[in-house]
Chain length 122, copies 2
C-alpha cells in the first residue's frame, strides 16, 4: 500500500510522515530521528515526540522523549531543530528500544523537568 499522504500544503503534517523525520541541533548536527509521537487523548495535543538515538540495527538504540514544544520544523533542513547538544541528550530521560515500556504520568513529569532546566554548556 503506498504512503497516500505524500505531501501537504499549509501547516498540517501526517503523523506517519513525522515518524522518520530527522532531528538536528542548531549547528546542524543530526541528533536522531522521530520514532513516534505521544498524544493527549483528551485535548488532542501532541505532547512528546519520541526520538530514536544511537544504536546500530536496533542494538543499543535509545528512545528519548522530547517535549513537542521544543521542536521547530525547519523547511530548509527538512527536519526538526532542537536546542540541545549531544551531551545534554546523553543525560536526558531515555529507555532502551528493545524493552516494553509503560509510559506513566511520573515519567512525563521527569521529561518535563529535565527539559525545563536551564541548558548549561557542558
Amino acid at each position: 500500500m503506498p504512503d497516500t499522504i505524500s505531501m501537504t500544503t499549509g501547516t498540517l503534517i501526517s503523523a506517519g510522515k513525522v515518524n522518520g523525520t530527522s532531528v538536528f541541533n542548531p549547528v546542524g548536527e543530526k541528533l536522531g530521528t522521530i520514532h513516534d509521537t505521544m498524544i493527549d487523548k483528551n485535548s488532542g495535543h501532541v505532547v512528546y515526540a519520541v526520538m530514536s538515538f544511537g544504536g546500530f540495527l536496533g542494538m543499543g538504540e535509545k528512545f528519548h522523549p522530547l517535549p513537542w514544544a521544543k521542536l521547530k520544523y525547519d523547511d530548509q533542513k527538512g527536519g526538526f531543530v532542537v536546542n540541545l547538544d549531544k551531551k545534554q541528550l546523553e543525560h536526558a530521560p531515555s529507555y532502551d528500544s528493545n524493552v516494553d515500556f509503560t509510559w506513566t504520568p511520573a515519567y512525563g513529569q521527569k521529561v518535563d523537568t529535565y527539559y525545563s532546566m536551564p541548558l548549561k554548556v557542558m
Copy 2:
C-alpha cells in the same frame, strides 16, 4: 524491533498505537480503523484522524479524514466512537488508498464543513 510503548497510564497515547485502532458508531458497528493522524505543525494539535474504510487487501479501500474532536475513546470497546452511520460515511470526503494524495487547506475545510453539518437520519 518491538513496539516499545506497549501501554500508558494516564491520558497519553502513542500515535503508533492510535494507528490500527478500531472506530465504532454509537450502536457498536465497526466503521473502520485509524490509518494515520494529521498534526498541525505550529500548534501541535491533532486535527484529523484518517480512517481506513472498506476494501479488501488494499483494493477499494478509502481513507476518510475525521475531525479529531468527533472521536471519543471508549475504554470498554477498546476503540474510538464517532456519532456517524455508514451512509453518512459513504458521502463524506474521502480518497482512494492507492493514490498519492496532497492534503490542502481547502480539503481540510471541505472535511470541516461536512462534519459540522447537522447529522440527518438517512
